[in-house]
C-alpha cells in the first residue's frame, strides 16, 4: 500500500505491505531504533509510541490501520533545539532507567499518562504503568520520575 503518515512532525510516504507492524515500520523502514521490541504478546510496552494523541503499543497495530496518522516516537519527544521533554529530564534526574531498553516505551507511556491524568496519585501512576515492564529499576525511580515531571508540567 501507499502509506502516508506523519512521524515526529515529518510527512512520510512509503510503499509497504499493509500488514507491516507499525513497530517494524518505525524500526526497519524509518530506522528509528529508539522504539524497542521486547515481546511478542503486546505485554512489555517497550514499543510504545504516541499515535494521534494516545499511547499505543506499536507492535499491536499494522500500518494498514495507520493511514494518515500522526506518530511521535522517543526520537521526536525533545524540542527542536534538543531541549529535553520534562519527562525525559525527570527520568535522568530521578535515575528512572538503568539498561535503557524499556525506557523509550516507559517515557512515552508516562507522557500519555500525565496528558490524560495530570493529577494522578502515586497509586494511580502505578496502575497506569501496568502495560510497561521494567526488569532493572524495581519501578521505584520510574514512579518518582513521573511524579517529578508531573510537578514540572503542572507548574
Amino acid at each position: 500500500m501507499k502509506l502516508e503518515i506523519t512521524v515526529n512532525g515529518r510527512a512520510v510516504s512509503a510503499d509497504v505491505p499493509p500488514n507491516t507492524l507499525l513497530s517494524a515500520f518505525i524500526r526497519d523502514h524509518l530506522r528509528l531504533t529508539g522504539t524497542h521490541r521486547g515481546c511478542d504478546t503486546s505485554q512489555c510496552g517497550a514499543c510504545t509510541v504516541i499515535a494521534n494523541g494516545r499511547s499505543m503499543k506499536s507492535c499491536s497495530v499494522v500500518v494498514g490501520q495507520m493511514q494518515g496518522a500522526a506518530i511521535t516516537t522517543i526520537e521526536g519527544l525533545a524540542g527542536k533545539d534538543g531541549e529535553l521533554h520534562p519527562m525525559q529530564a525527570a527520568f535522568k534526574e530521578c535515575h528512572g532507567l538503568q539498561c535503557g531498553f524499556c525506557t523509550p516505551g516507559m517515557i512515552m507511556s508516562s507522557v500519555d499518562l500525565l496528558t490524560h491524568h495530570p493529577h494522578a496519585t502515586k497509586a494511580e501512576i502505578c496502575e497506569l504503568l501496568e502495560g510497561n515492564i521494567c526488569r532493572c529499576t524495581g519501578y521505584e525511580n520510574i514512579v518518582k520520575a513521573v511524579q517529578t515531571a508531573q510537578k514540572k508540567m503542572s507548574a
Binding site: 521490541r37 532507567l97 535503557g100 510497561n132
Partner: protein
C-alpha cells in the same frame, strides 16, 4: 591508594547523574538489534518441539525452495567440524571423580534434550523469509520419555550416555563427621524442606547476535548481547571454532539487562558466526520473546532439606544441608559452579555455626540449561539459612531478631566452616538500623489495626551475607574454575587532558560510564564530563572477564585504581622535572601537582601535554605518553551483607499478599555513587519479591513443554507491586580492594525472598499455616489457609 584515603576524595559518595542516560532517554542507544550491516542476511532457528527425542532425520529440501532462503544448516553440517559449548567450571565429586561433562553441539546432532533446543538454522534474505522457512523444515523425532522432576531423574531415561543415572555430580563441602557428632549433642533440632523456584531471567532486551566476516582478513566480528565479550571470544575461539583470537572481534554494545542470563556463550552466537563465515555475508538473529523463554538460561530450581542442631539456648551447633539441583539438559557456562561454590560456601550466613556440611546432587533434566540468575547460588543459600533460622526461633519461642542476635558473628575476619573468610562487617548494627527504619517497635499496633479489618499482618527478617568480586584466581582455579577472575583497566590520558578509561567489565544497566568516571575525576581532578569509559569491544579493551557476581567496582574498579596509581606516579615524575624538584616532593591533589611546602605547582593538564609533547621532558629516564594498564586479581571475595525486614498484609479471603513496607540496611563497604547503589537495591529487591510472590518457570511434568512461555503466563513484577522502600546503609570498608567496595548488584535478589516468605508465614501462623513455597501467589496462600483449616 587505600580505601580510607580514597573515600575522602571529591565526587566519592556523590549521586552524580548518569552520563549514559543522554542517549537512552532520547532513543539513541545502540543495541544489537539496532545494527544493520550492508548486505545483511537473517537467521532463524528450527527448535525442538520435544523435550527428549532421537533425531532420525532433518529434511530441509522443501524449505530450501522457499523464497529468499540462502542456506540451511543442520547438525550434520557441523558434526566433527567444531567443538561443543564448554562449561567454565569443573566440579570434582565427593569420590574424587570429575563431574560428567557431556558434549553440547550448537545444533543438535543425534538427539534433542529440551524443548527449544536448536535443530537447524535457516539463513534468508529477510527475517520474515527465514521465519517462514523454518516452518517447512521437516524434522523426524523418535520421542523418548522426558525427565522433568529432579527427584525422578535417577531412575529416568538417560539424557546423556556419559551420565546413565542423569547425575552430573555429587559434591560436598564441610566436615560430615563433625556435623554428625554435633547433632548427637543437640538439645533441639529444627528441620525444613524448601523449594527454590525456577526463575526465568527475562532481561527486557531479547538476546540478539549479528556476525560479519571479512574474507580479506579472515576476521569475524560478532555483535552480541553479552555481559562478557572477551569470555565469548575466548570460548568461541579456543573451544568451539578453534580459530585464533585475532580472527574474532566480539562487541557487546548497549545491552538491555543481563541478570546472569547473558554470561553464556549461546548456540545462536556460534550459529551466526558459523553462517557468516560459510556464506561470506553478515548474518543476524534476534530472539522473539517466546524464544527467550525457551532458550535463555533459567535460574535457581533447588530442592533442599536442611537441619539445624542447637543447644538449649538456641545457639547453633551444626547445620546439615542436602540439595537436589536441576542443571537442565546441558551444562551452561557457569552452570556447574552456581549450585556448588556460589551456593554452599555461603551457608554459614551471618552466624557462628561451628559445624556445617552440605551435599549437592546435580541432575540433568529435559529442561532449558540452568545458570546464573541475579545472585547465582547465594539467593539459594540465603533462602535456606534465613528460612531455617527464623523457624529455629519460632520453635524455641524466640523472636526473629533474638535468634539472629544470639548467633551473629561479631569478630572479623571470621573463618567459616565452608571455605569463606569474611573480612569485615557489622551485622548487629545492620539489624539495629533495620529495626529502626522498619519501625518494628510499633509493629504490634499495626498488626492489631490489620486484624480489626479482618486482615493478617506479618513481619519477616532476612540477615543475608553474600560473596562478590570472586578471586583470587589461584584459589578459584584449585576449585575448578577454568578462567582467571582478575580484571583489567587502562587509563589513557589524552594530550589535552581528557581521559579515556578502558575496562574489561561490561555495563548493561549498572552505570559504569558514570561510576568509573567518578573514580578518575576523584583521583586526577579531571571533570567527569572529560572522562570517557569504553567497554564491550574486544578490539578496544584489554582482556577482562566482564560483569557478573557484582564484581565490576570491586574488581574492575580495583584495576582502574591500580592504573591510576601508575598514572599518578608518572605524572609526579614529569611534574618534578618541570618544577625542578625531586619526585618525592611532589603532591598530587585536586588536579594540581605541587612541590611540597611551596607554592610551585603545575596542573595535571599541563603535565599531560608535556607527556605527549616532550620538548622539556626527562627522556633519558622516562618514556613519553601517559597511558597505563593494570590488572587486579583480588586477594579474597568481598562480603556484602545486611538485614532486610519485610512487612506484609494478607487478605485471608483472597490470599492476596500486599507488601506494606520493605526495609533494607546493607553494608556495601565504600559507596562511590549512592544513587546507583539505591537503584541496584530497588531492582534486586523487586526481583526477589517477584521470586517470592509472583514468578515461577513451570514445565509440564508429562510433556516437558514450558507452560510459562510468555509474559501472559509468567508473572513479571509491575509497578503495582512496588513496595514502600526504606533504605539505609552501614559501611565497613572491604579490605580486598583499593576502593573498599563490596558490590551491590545482587544483594536485593539475595536478601529479599526469605524476608518476604518469613513475613507471609508470620502472618499466617495464627491460622495454622506452617509452611508455604514460593511463589506465594494468592492461590497458594488461599490454599494454604484453606488446608490448615481442614
Amino acid at each position: 591508594m587505600g580505601a580510607n584515603e580514597f573515600v575522602n576524595k571529591p565526587h566519592i559518595g556523590e549521586s552524580v547523574r548518569r552520563v549514559e542516560d543522554a542517549r537512552f532517554i532520547t532513543g539513541q542507544g545502540n543495541y544489537v538489534d539496532d545494527i544493520v550491516e550492508a548486505g545483511q542476511k537473517y537467521a532463524a532457528f528450527v527448535r525442538s518441539t520435544y523435550p527428549h527425542a532421537r533425531l532420525t532425520g532433518v529434511d530441509t529440501s522443501a524449505a530450501e525452495e522457499m523464497p529468499g532462503v540462502i542456506r540451511i544448516f543442520t547438525g550434520k553440517d557441523i558434526a566433527g567440524k567444531c567443538g561443543g559449548l564448554p562449561a567454565g567450571w569443573m566440579i570434582v565429586q565427593v569420590d574424587g571423580a570429575p563431574m560428567k561433562e557431556p558434549q553440547r553441539p550448537f545444533l543438535a546432532i543425534d538427539k534433542v534434550r529440551y524443548v527449544g533446543e536448536p535443530v537447524a538454522m535457516v539463513v534468508a534474505d529477510t527475517k520474515e523469509q527465514a521465519q517462514n522457512a523454518i516452518e517447512s523444515v521437516m524434522v523426524d523425532y523418535d520421542p523418548l520419555d522426558p525427565v522433568i522432576d529432579v527427584h525422578k531423574a535417577a531412575n529416568g531415561p538417560a539424557l546423556h550416555a556419559e551420565a546413565p543415572d542423569n547425575r552430573c555430580y555429587k559434591w560436598g563441602i564441610g566436615d560430615k563427621a563433625g556435623v554428625d557428632a554435633a547433632f548427637t549433642k543437640a538439645a533441639h533440632i529444627t528441620k525444613i524442606d524448601l523449594i527454590n523456584n525456577r526463575m526465568i531471567p527475562n532481561a527486557m532486551e531479547p538476546r540478539a547476535a549479528n556476525a560479519t566476516f571479512s574474507r580479506a582478513t579472515g576476521e569475524s566480528t560478532l555483535y552480541t548481547t553479552s555481559q562478557n565479550p572477551h569470555l565469548v571470544r575466548l570460548l568461541m575461539c579456543a573451544n568451539i571454532l578453534q580459530i585464533p583470537e585475532t580472527k574474532l572481534r566480539v562487541v557487546a554494545p548497549d545491552v538491555g539487562g543481563g541478570f546472569g542470563s547473558k554470561i553464556n556463550v549461546y548456540p545462536e552466537d556460534v550459529g551466526v558466526v558459523w553462517a557468516s563465515r560459510a556464506l561470506n555475508c553478515p548474518v543476524k538473529w534476534t530472539a522473539e520473546r517466546s524464544e527467550s523463554f525457551l532458550s535463555d538460561t533459567h535460574g535457581r530450581d533447588h530442592h533442599t532439606h536442611a537441619e539445624m542442631a542447637m543447644d538449649k539456648d538456641g545457639h547453633f551447633l551444626a547445620l546439615r544441608v542436602h540439595s537436589d539441583v536441576n542443571l537442565g539438559a546441558y551444562l551452561a557456562t557457569f552452570g556447574p559452579a552456581v549450585p556448588t561454590y556460589m551456593y554452599a560456601t555461603l551457608l554459614a550466613g551471618q552466624y557462628k555455626t561451628p559445624q556445617l556440611y552440605a551435599e549437592v546432587d546435580a541432575w540433568f533434566t529435559n529442561t532449558a540449561p540452568v545458570d546464573a540468575y541475579r545472585g547465582a547460588g547465594r539467593p539459594e543459600a540465603s533462602y535456606v539459612v534465613e528460612r531455617i533460622v527464623t523457624r529455629c526461633g519460632w520453635e524455641l519461642g524466640l523472636s526473629q531478631d533474638e535468634i539472629r542476635r544470639r548467633n551473629f558473628i561479631t569478630e572479623y575476619p571470621y573463618q567459616t566452616p565452608v571455605a569463606m573468610q569474611y573480612d569485615t562487617g557489622d551485622w548487629p548494627k545492620c539489624l539495629d538500623e533495620a529495626n529502626k527504619l522498619a519501625e518494628v517497635d510499633s509493629f504490634d499496633q499495626r498488626r492489631k489495626a490489620s486484624e480489626a479489618k479482618g486482615l493478617r499482618r506479618g513481619i519477616g527478617y532476612s540477615s543475608y551475607v553474600e560473596a562478590c568480586g570472586m578471586g583470587p584466581s589461584r584459589i578459584v582455579g584449585q576449585l575448578g574454575a577454568r578462567a582467571g577472575l582478575y580484571e583489567s583497566g587502562e587509563v589513557r590520558v589524552n594530550p589535552t587532558g581528557s581521559v579515556t578509561v578502558f575496562t574489561g567489565t561490561h555495563s548493561h544497566g549498572q552505570g559504569h560510564e558514570t561510576a568509573f568516571a567518578q573514580l578518575v575525576a576523584a583521583r586526577l581532578g579531571v571533570a567527569i564530563e572529560n572522562v570517557e569509559v569504553v567497554h564491550g569491544d574486544t578490539n578496544r579493551i584489554p582482556f577482562g572477564m566482564g560483569t557478573y557476581g557484582s564484581r565490576s567496582l570491586a574488581v574492575g574498579g580495583g584495576a582502574i585504581m591500580k592504573a591510576l596509581d601508575k598514572i599518578e606516579e608518572k605524572a609526579k615524575k614529569i611534574a618534578a622535572h618541570l618544577l625542578e624538584a625531586s619526585d618525592a616532593d611532589i603532591e598530587f591533589e585536586n588536579g594540581q601537582l605541587t612541590v611540597k611546602g611551596t607554592d610551585k605547582k603545575i596542573s595535571f593538564g599541563e603535565v599531560a601535554l608535556a607527556a605527549y609533547v616532550p620538548h622539556n621532558y626527562p627522556l633519558e629516564k622516562l618514556e613519553p605518553g601517559l597511558d597505563e594498564t593494570a590488572f587486579f586479581d583480588p586477594p579474597n571475595f568481598t562480603f556484602p551483607g545486611g538485614t532486610y525486614i519485610c512487612e506484609v498484609e494478607i487478605d485471608p479471603a483472597t490470599g492476596v499478599v500486599t507488601i506494606d513496607r520493605f526495609t533494607c540496611v546493607d553494608d556495601f563497604g565504600v559507596i562511590v555513587n549512592p544513587m546507583l547503589v539505591d537503584g541496584q537495591v530497588h531492582g534486586g529487591v523487586m526481583q526477589g519479591i517477584g521470586q517470592a510472590l509472583l514468578e515461577e518457570g513451570v514445565y509440564d511434568q508429562e510433556t516437558g513443554q514450558l507452560l510459562t512461555g510468555s509474559f501472559m503466563d509468567y508473572t513479571m513484577p509491575r509497578a503495582i507491586n512496588l513496595p514502600n522502600f526504606r533504605i539505609g546503609t552501614v559501611c565497613t570498608p572491604c579490605t580486598s580492594n583499593p576502593i573498599g567496595s563490596k558490590g551491590a548488584g545482587e544483594a536485593g535478589a539475595i536478601g529479599a525472598p526469605p524476608a518476604v516468605i518469613n513475613a507471609v508465614l508470620d502472618a499466617l501462623k495464627p491460622l495454622g499455616v506452617n509452611d508455604i513455597d514460593m511463589p506465594a501467589t494468592p492461590f497458594h496462600v488461599w490454599t494454604a489457609i484453606h488446608n490448615a483449616k481442614a
